[in-house]
């Protein structure tokens, strides 16, 4: 039940991939000497419906299809003896979202999940992460030809949670991957939303929003690997920070390999700082090995809250707190609207509101 001792490199904090992360706050997840439980932590909320199945299978029967150099994800793979497999049937159209929740143990834990979107299927999967945890986890999303998968993860963790995760999509021929990553809870969250293409014509949209207050460290390291011709990617992440020691890191690595002609990619990161004492790092990286592409670009902005917007709204009678909420809501609108659920939108905004109130911003 415990992690095997391994020879994987333990991050020291000096590596490029780890230089932003406060390792001493990982509760030892990165340290091979720490015992981490092998637990299946994900479960279907509600009943199984036509169009998909969910099962627990032996890890040996469902090895990862992608490679990773992330030391913690390598530990997750070495530890997890079983894997949760959500399979959306070929050509199935699952109307209502498939909701997965976490059932957490009392100790640190590692788990693996594979989601397969069968050829020409269409579905939305929502992973709701809440509660108190120290967790390392990997979700591999396999999009078969012509499938359309919307994948939403909501990090609404309790305040002491440590969450390290990799959510990797393998986008097949003419498949469409839409993802929305929302991170507003947890003490330390470090996610790797990554994409690769297994055939031509694939399209991936990676949207994210994060909101950090006092002492939270929220890190998103996006990686899109264009190793196949004629694929498309769009990345848009937006963050708001408020309060002392609120910290966010956004890395956007897009790699266009020499053979990936016809690639079309754009990535954007915007951060809004509400108070002093918060820090947002934003590092877009675009590496291009071929000029035969449709387009490639990136942009990153980090700015203070615009007092002129507040003044404008208040001059129409809107009280300060409401005006501020309106501006933040507006900032997140293009992302949050795409979740397509008013109930979730309201839940996220009210959590943001109460966190804002707590820091008095």
């Amino acid at each position: 039940m415990s992690a095997l001792p391994t020879n994987y490199l333990t991050p020291s904090g000096r590596e490029e991939a780890w230089r932003f992360t406060p390792l001493k706050r990982l509760n030892g997840l990165h340290d091979p000497a720490t015992v981490v439980a092998d637990r299946i932590s994900i479960a279907l909320s509600g009943a199984v419906r036509p169009g998909f199945t969910i099962a627990t299978v032996k890890a040996a029967d469902l090895p990862a299809k992608s490679s990773t150099d992330d030391a913690i994800i390598q530990r997750v793979r070495a530890t997890a003896s079983e894997v949760t497999h959500l399979q959306i049937a070929q050509e199935a159209v699952v109307a209502e979202p498939i909701v997965l929740t976490r059932t957490l143990g009392s100790s640190s834990e590692f788990s693996r999940t594979v989601i397969t979107a069968g050829a020409h299927s269409k579905a939305t999967v929502i992973v709701e992460n809440s509660g108190q945890a120290t967790i390392g986890e990997e979700i591999e999303l396999r999009l078969e030809a012509g499938s359309n998968l919307t994948f939403i993860t909501l990090q609404e963790w309790s305040e002491n949670t440590v969450h390290l995760g990799r959510h990797h999509a393998i986008v097949g021929r003419d498949a469409t991957f839409n993802s929305i990553t929302v991170t507003i809870g947890g003490s330390l969250v470090r996610l790797l939303p990554t994409v690769e293409y297994s055939d031509q014509g694939g399209s991936a949209e990676l949207l994210g929003l994060y909101f950090a207050t006092d002492g939270q460290h929220l890190e998103h390291r996006v990686h899109v690997d264009h190793g196949i011709p004629n694929a498309k990617s769009r990345v848009t992440y937006k963050g708001v920070l408020a309060g002392d020691q609120a910290r966010t890191v956004w890395i956007g690595d897009v790699f266009i390999r020499g053979n990936a002609e016809g690639t079309d990619t754009y990535e954007l990161n915007k951060n809004l700082l509400l108070t002093d004492g918060a820090r947002a790092d934003s590092v877009p990286n675009l590496e291009i090995e071929t000029g035969e592409i449709v387009g490639a670009g990136h942009a990153s902005t980090t700015g203070r809250f615009d007092d002129e917007q507040l003044f404008y709204l208040m001059s129409r009678g809107i009280p300060m707190a409401d005006a501020r909420r309106l501006v933040i809501r507006g900032f997140f609108t293009e992302i949050i609207n795409k979740i397509g659920s008013e109930a979730i939108e309201e839940r996220l905004m009210s959590r943001i509101d109460s966190q804002l109130e707590k820091v008095g911003a």
Partner: protein, 250 residues
């Protein structure tokens, strides 16, 4: 009947070299139904007057008073001033990305009226006001002022004035950047609100052009941070001919 009374108003801004006084003692009284044109050269402090009345945090009140129906305006927060019945149509309306015009108008109306307006009557009210200002219904769905043309921004300001029903409105260079058609539509809107709601208006402008559409009852020449001459509409005609040269020298 409402009355805005400005007495010996002195206002400064913080600059690198310390506090700089911009308004040097402004006296002005505006009653419901009156149109007061404030005319003056660039840099004379006209916009500072507008923003000071609205409560922009950039400006520091150094002396004097502003009251609306006897109540101290300068003690109020920005939103309280709007609730008291003041409205500022801005020269450069601010973009608020992701906030739709519909949501913005409804939030403002809710704040000012103390309760959310009834959905059915409100939608009709907005639609009617937009039609009068020749605004396409799709406007409601757009983000506040984002990507608006100059004319659209000004029409949107007057739309708000029409819906929020202030007692006294300050129009800060509402005519700037408008072509003749847009100027006519905006002016008709102002005249309509004035007629319907007996609005008192402070019309700040650099040019006399808008005064052909919105007839002033009083004209005040503004230079060096205060009113230097006052008169009726005939004063505007004189400014049209001679410009501000004599005031700038003085």
């Amino acid at each position: 009947m409402s009355q805005l009374v400005i007495k010996d108003l002195k206002v400064g801004v913080e600059t690198e070299s310390g506090m700089t006084e911009i308004l040097r003692g402004v006296d002005l009284t505006i009653n419901s139904g009156e149109v007061h044109a404030i005319m003056g050269p660039n840099g004379s402090g006209k916009s500072t007057l507008a923003y000071s009345i609205a409560g922009h945090p950039k400006y520091t009140i150094l002396g004097g008073s502003v009251t609306l129906d006897g109540v101290d305006v300068l003690e109020m927060s920005v939103d309280e001033r709007a609730k008291a019945g003041l409205f500022l149509a801005m020269q450069y309306p601010v973009e608020v990305p992701g906030v739709s015009v519909a949501n913005f108008l409804r939030t403002a109306a809710t704040a000012l009226r103390g309760e959310a307006p009834k959905v059915r009557t409100w939608v009709g009210e907005v639609k009617e006001a937009m039609t009068k200002l020749s605004m396409d219904p799709s406007f409601s769905e757009r983000s506040v002022n984002e990507g608006f043309s100059g004319g659209e921004k000004k029409r949107h300001e007057i739309l708000q004035m029409e819906l929020l029903k202030p007692k006294i409105a300050v129009l800060d260079e509402t005519d700037s950047g408008l072509d003749v058609d847009a100027l006519r539509i905006v002016s008709e809107g102002v005249n309509r609100v004035k007629a319907e709601q007996n609005l008192g208006i402070m019309l700040i402008t650099h040019y006399t052009r808008i005064l052909r559409y919105i007839k002033p009852d009083f004209v005040h020449v503004f230079a060096g941070g205060k009113i230097v001459e006052e008169g009726g509409p005939e004063l505007a005609e004189r400014l049209e001919e001679k410009g501000y040269a004599e005031y700038v020298k003085a």
